[in-house]
């Protein structure tokens, strides 16, 4: 865990934060509250501040060099010394974003070194201009730490938002954590010097630092949420990935820091007024400052580790609990009333307890009543959970492609159909002796289970009846099987819904088409417009002449030439899978047409002989218009976990 690169990164982050925090502390905390009569920082304290600044700058430069060399050695696969001597460092410096960022930061460090004396002049305080420049340099010194990080690697608007949020987050974190060291130094000085003046300084500095802290913590919270959204992408990922768990630990440490700061401000500052205990209070404030610094350093170490851990949005989630929350009880008419009563009882119980906490006069009766309500509700809470497995939140890597569905169908016939039946209805020849009986894989419950749940059952089996396939099918095979199960259940429903309702949303299987302009997009990449798929075989070639140029032609026979500007496909898997939805054989698919709406749902199908006649342009335009006006979102397409 503590590899040298991570250590160099952690030390560099911490030193930069300490330096930047000193600048913010001097200008935003110390100067505004310092007694005018004193006119300047006490010389001994000033010397400590100057030394702190030089030390942190030196440490950040040294750790910056270490980071550069260790990274170069890792990128070139060379040991440290050859990596330094053979120009690789130069290549990293000049030809990578990290290197450019590094050079900018080196220049910033030089400028900051020049500015330390102006930030902490021997007499008085820095001029307004010097102060502004010092704060700007320190802020950029922190912000530039994020340019070569996770956020910097994404393109487009999300990338820009991430970079901006990262920059603000770093500046705020530096100002807070870095400000703690000079804060502790002021407390220590107040303790040593004693006297009324120092007591006032300690109280005012703490008050000012708390106000500053509220602003800083708000910024940290908002930007942190934004980054969590982009890099973690959901609550399960926060609990179920290494990245998410490190992040939770970091959030817990931040909460602890805020709690300690709150004790300083709310409990200790008012007590400074007592002449008797002031000394002890100052001692505790200094100690609390040191505790906060320790938390801050731990946070920096976690940041170092996070930077070398793949963001949760890119890894599979390992769900750590045997159950997960589910709103299914609210949607099922049989349990809805019960679920609503339970929700109402819990809401009322929580409200009563809150009331008890807030209103002293009715405290105990309210707390008691609220607790009793919650306790009564407790045994029923299982209603809002369903069983979950470590793989429950796994994302399928397949993209619901026709290739994976077709591969899944072959596996299904080999491994599953003897029990679950050829069509998945749970009525295979081996079904009748099994206890529990094989599930009907076309029934509604299939839609209630996550892909990850199905993955777990296929991998590990269920009870004695359903065998485990983890050893016989590789993960890709199991995901393919899951795609086929979904496609099969969808196809069963599509057959009866296609002509009548047109309100149903079935995720359209995805495939690559070749277009006249030489591009070959996935059909899923063409979302946003209505897609018209036409399956053309030897009997219906003539249909091509009447098609609008945006139609997608699937050639059932690769020797058929369609010409024109169509995007087309001839992969046999496309026909195989869409025949499933048409409820026909591949041969009978000749002439069949489908419409996929702008959200990617397979909405309607037609084949020659059916009325209304889609080959009549007026009729077809009307069908398209109806679908365009009623877009229907399909279940989320399996994610893009990249495996190649």
């Amino acid at each position: 865990m503590f590899e040298p690169l991570m250590l160099a990164r952690t030390v560099h982050f911490a030193a930069a934060a300490m330096f930047s925090g000193l600048t913010f502390f001097v200008l935003f905390i110390a100067e505004p509250v310092w007694p005018r009569a004193l006119g300047r920082l006490e010389p001994a304290l000033r010397t400590q501040f100057v030394r702190l600044g030089w030390t942190m700058l030196a440490v950040s430069v040294a750790s910056g060099f270490a980071w550069l060399l260790l990274l170069t050695s890792r990128l070139t696969g060379q040991r440290l010394l050859p990596a330094m001597s053979e120009g690789a460092v130069w290549k990293v410096l000049t030809q990578t974003r990290f290197g450019q960022d590094w050079l900018v930061r080196a220049v910033l460090a030089l400028l900051l070194a020049i500015f330390i004396k102006r930030l902490l002049p021997l007499r008085g305080w820095p001029s307004r201009r010097d102060g502004a420049i010092a704060v700007l340099l320190s802020a950029v010194f922190m912000a530039s730490l994020g340019w070569a990080g996770h956020g910097g690697a994404n393109t487009g608007t999300p990338g820009l938002i991430q970079v901006a949020a990262d920059a603000l987050h770093l500046i705020a974190a530096g100002a807070w954590i870095g400000g703690l060291v000079p804060f502790a130094l002021v407390m220590a000085r107040a303790l040593r010097t004693r006297g009324e003046a120092w007591k006032a300084i300690a109280a005012n500095v703490t008050r000012r630092f708390s106000t500053f802290g509220v602003v800083v913590v708000t910024v940290l919270l908002l930007t942190g949420l934004s980054n969590t959204w982009f890099l973690v992408g959901g609550f399960p990922a926060l609990l179920g990935t290494a990245y998410g768990q490190l992040l939770l630990l970091k959030i817990a440490l931040v909460i602890a820091m805020v709690a300690v700061a709150a004790i300083n401000r709310l409990v200790l500052v008012p007590r400074l007024q007592d002449a008797a205990g002031a000394e002890r209070v100052l001692g505790r404030m200094r100690r609390n400052g040191l505790i906060e610094i320790a938390f801050g350093v731990a946070i920096m170490a976690i940041v170092g580790a996070l930077g070398t851990t793949p963001p949760a949005a890119h890894t599979q989630v390992q769900w750590p609990f045997p159950a997960r929350l589910s709103a299914a009880a609210l949607n099922d008419p049989a349990t809805r009333t019960e679920a609503l009563v339970l929700l109402a009882a819990m809401t009322a119980g929580t409200a009563l307890i809150l009331l008890g906490v807030l209103v002293r006069r009715v405290r105990w009766p309210m707390l008691a009543a609220g607790s009793i309500l919650l306790l009564l509700a407790l045994p029923w809470l299982g209603m809002f959970t369903v069983e979950a497995y470590p793989t429950s939140f796994y994302a399928s890597p397949t993209g619901f492609s026709v290739q994976s569905i077709a591969a899944g169908e072959a596996l299904f016939l080999q491994n599953c159909s003897s029990c679950h039946g050829l069509d998945g209805h749970g009525d295979g020849p081996a079904a009748k002796d099994l206890q529990p009986p094989p599930a009907d894989l076309t029934a509604g419950h299939i839609y209630a289970h996550s892909d990850g749940d199905l993955f777990w059952w296929i991998t590990h089996g269920i009870g004695d009846a359903m065998p485990a396939f983890g050893a016989t099918l590789d993960p890709t095979g199991r995901w393919n099987l899951i795609d086929f199960i979904h496609a099969n259940a969808d196809a069963t429903r599509f057959g009866s819904a296609a002509d009548a309702g047109m309100r149903n949303a079935f995720l359209a299987p995805d495939f690559v088409v070749d277009c006249a302009d030489g591009s070959s997009p996935l059909m899923g990449d063409m979302r946003g417009r209505i897609l018209h798929l036409v399956f053309v075989g030897v009997h219906t070639v003539a249909r091509v002449r009447t098609l609008e140029p945006t139609a997608i032609v699937v050639r059932l026979d690769p020797t058929i030439s369609v010409g024109g500007s169509f995007c087309s496909a001839d992969d046999p898997d496309v026909a195989k899978v869409f025949a499933l939805y048409a409820g026909s054989s591949v041969e009978e698919l000749d002439g069949t047409e489908f419409i996929v709406d702008q959200l990617g749902s397979l909405r309607s199908s037609w084949h020659p002989g059916l009325v209304p006649d889609w080959t009549d342009p007026k009729v077809f335009a009307q069908v398209v218009e109806t679908i365009r006006r009623t877009p229907s979102a399909p279940r989320a397409a399996p994610g893009h976990i990249h495996t190649h």
């Binding site: 865990m1 990274l71 990128l75 290549k91 990293v92 030809q95 990578t96 974003r97 990290f98 070569a148 990080g149 996770h150 910097g152 690697a153 994404n154 393109t155 990935t241 290494a242 768990q245 070398t308 851990t309 793949p310 963001p311 890119h314 890894t315 599979q316 390992q318 890597p397 993960p475 690559v512 070959s520 996935l522 893009h640 976990i641 990249h642 495996t643 190649h644």
Partner: protein
């Protein structure tokens, strides 16, 4: 912590990741991953999910005998595309090995095959 790392490493192995701490993933390729193309392509294009560092990102294409059939240094263009020219390819199976450094200084690598000529 060690258990965590072990669990996530196992996960990566399970899903065939070839490098663990990794960020620029292959989104898609032309010719497609695992595809068969009738005519020999003159270049290989790889689309990645994040910006790449050209100086430290490479790709090699080998024929079934293990000989290099690419033209050497890849070009990296906008939209995270890496392209490399190919020598004239006779029918056969070709293996692509890519190695990418994303701008956040993390490396990834992977491989896949494509086939030229009829099945």
């Amino acid at each position: 912590m060690r258990r965590l790392v072990a669990a996530s490493s196992a996960l990566f192995l399970l899903f065939g990741f070839e490098a663990a701490w990794a960020h620029a993933f292959l989104d898609h390729a032309e010719p497609r991953v695992g595809s068969s193309v009738a005519a020999a392509p003159r270049q290989l294009s790889l689309w990645f999910t994040q910006d790449l560092e050209p100086a430290f990102s490479t790709v090699e294409v080998h024929n079934s005998a293990g000989a290099r059939v690419d033209q050497g240094k890849p070009r990296i263009g906008p939209a995270n595309v890496m392209r490399v020219g190919l020598k004239p390819l006779p029918p056969g199976t070709y293996r692509v090995l890519w190695h990418a450094l994303s701008v956040d200084t993390h490396t990834t690598e992977g491989s896949f095959s494509f086939h030229v000529g009829s099945h």
